[in-house]
Symmetry: C2
Subunit: 335 residues, 2 copies
DNA sequence: CGGCAAAATGAAAATTGTTTCATTTTCCGT
DNA sequence: ACGGAAAATGAAACAATTTTCATTTTGCCG
């Protein structure tokens, strides 16, 4: 009933532990006939090395942690797919951590990351403070931060894969100015705060450049339903702005549905664009414009960066910062 | 630069390893003043127990594995949230595994689960064969299978949390019969094969009961786009069935958009219902009917079941089978 | 066939905890 | 203050591997 250990294999094959260990780890210094003998015993007994003991002996768990908020997870499974595929390719295990209000705080996650002795961590920029980063940094756990640009960090073993939405949003607004449109509204959001900041910065700077101030913020609603109700009310008293910038699909759809039910036409009376693309946008009538942010690739690149950092112990020659380009996807809701 | 171990703490606090271990584990047999002294040293040195060494010493990792296909993950992040929340409550770590065609096969996942010595596993019914279950079962790793009913298994440490769609689908079709409608079409899907089987079985049995045979299957298309194109073509030559049953949102939306563009009215000319609900269904015009499957709860219940199995070593008194009830959500696309 | 280098193997220490069992200390009643 | 029981502590074994260093075996050359 006991699990089979390296001892059992050694005894059965009449060799020492060291030799068994060597054949497990493909060490080249073992003679071909003994390798085969040991291998045969391993298979016959169904021996599987204990990764826990290996981890202890090697001070290396071949495991990386991924931490993201549950909200983000629900919205962004594709980035997780990218992370997982690359982790699998390099045979890393992944410990998965989520933060959610009430149940699991960042503090606890960090605690368990440290105790688990994972080799590295992937962490999403949002709801993750400077202090928390410093804690992990003290333990010299290589990490890559995904999502948006980390400012002013100069830590040696921290990588960063991000999209910069600021410029692209700035340029979009500028283009509307060129076409004589400056009646723009922006829906606040809390899904990804750091990206939201970039968005706001981009829009505001475009306004500043023409000597105006932007402050047409529409207030945040967590769900589609409340958002839709809000806009339904809002459009009773206000004419929609000519261009409406949302952050995620449900907000954009809320504007679309509410506006149309008030008799407005999209895109003739108002245009709608959202930052985060989703597969549902092309299903709407009219289809809704967005930006293409290659989530899967971001995940894949981030994990690849981390594996590189883990392999190069010296950490030379590993690019530690990658900016992903977003591209506008023009559909029927803008022109 | 070296990590602080229990030895360092013991020496600094002038006690034995055993005592330090006892204060870490809240053993009650240590005197209050020495506990405080040790605790103070632990904090001063910033000692964090090494979970890997603990795992080795205890033959227990306080870690559970979750395995699901990437496709399912993209569709069903909520169930993962349920799993994670409960895992966090009981302070279990989670190893996350995905299967994806090409990159990571179930075989490899099982291999790494065994090597990692996790305490238990949560696994989704789909693309997971009887044989594979047997392998895990040989290692006596407690597991709960989520998603749909596991037939004919009688293994001692296997739990099952599932929805049974068969009856509810059967009843739905029956109701349409009562209203004189028997012109029904069903869209094939491969997202969750076992659930799809239930769906088919339910529909077919309803037909059989009235002495007819059901075989109006519409073919499977992986994406919204191909699905939409398919229905656009299809409706050129065929009149839509009176009731169209899809499996997931994108298929239902494809039917909706294609049908309307051919001048059909929903729900007057055709009704549409989909098995899996999604938050986008209420955003459509008309809104689309579905079934409420409480994903979050399913995840939470599954993980709770597993934690119970892990705590009751005897495994008595743990309910090992839970059937979740689905409920129809009637929106505008049916009546 | 002896000698020697190279290759293969093994013994033992190291990794960081937990736990059992023996020993020491404390506390209590007298 | 003493005996004995109870409580606290410590020494050592144990968990399953890797790795270093010493030892043995092999192979080759003269």
């Amino acid at each position: 009933m006991k699990r089979i250990t390296i001892y059992d294999v050694a005894k059965e094959a009449d060799v020492s532990l060291a030799t068994v260990s060597r054949v497990i780890n493909d060490s080249s210094v073992v003679r071909e006939d003994t390798r085969q003998r040991v291998q045969e015993v391993i298979e016959r007994l169904g021996y599987k090395p204990n990764a826990v003991a290996q981890g202890l002996a090697l001070s290396k768990t071949t495991t990386v942690s991924i931490v993201m908020s549950e909200k983000l997870l629900a919205y962004n499974a594709k980035i997780l797919n990218g992370l997982m595929d690359v982790a699998n390719i390099y045979h890393y295990n992944v410990m998965f951590h989520t933060t959610s209000k009430g149940i699991s705080k960042m503090q606890d996650v960090i605690e368990s990351i440290i105790k688990s002795r994972v080799d590295g961590v992937i962490i999403f920029n949002d709801n993750f403070s400077e202090d928390e980063m410093d804690v992990l940094n003290e333990y010299k756990i290589p990490m890559v931060i995904v999502g948006s640009k980390v400012e002013g960090q100069n830590h040696d073993h921290v990588g960063n894969v991000y999209v910069d939405m600021e410029k692209i949003c700035h340029d979009m607004v500028q283009k509307y100015f060129e076409n004589g449109i400056d009646d723009i509204a922006l829906v606040e959001d809390k899904l990804n705060l750091s990206m939201m900041r970039q968005l706001k910065a981009g829009v505001e700077s475009a306004y500043q450049e023409v000597g105006k101030e932007f402050n047409n913020y529409l207030s945040y609603n967590d769900t589609y339903k409340t958002s839709y109700q809000y806009f339904s009310e809002y459009f009773k008293e206000h004419k929609p702005a000519k261009l409406n910038i949302a952050f995620r699909d449900s907000q954009a759809i809320a504007i679309l549905n509410a506006a149309r039910e008030h008799g407005y036409r999209v895109p003739e009376d108002l245009e709608i664009v959202t930052i985060l693309d989703s597969k549902y946008l092309p299903m709407m009538r009219p289809t809704i414009s967005a930006f293409n942010i290659p989530d899967y690739d971001m995940g894949a690149l981030a994990m690849r960066m981390l594996t590189k950092m883990l392999m190069n112990n010296d950490e030379k020659g590993v690019q530690k910062e990658i900016e992903i380009q977003a591209a506008p996807i023009v559909r029927e809701s803008t022109r």
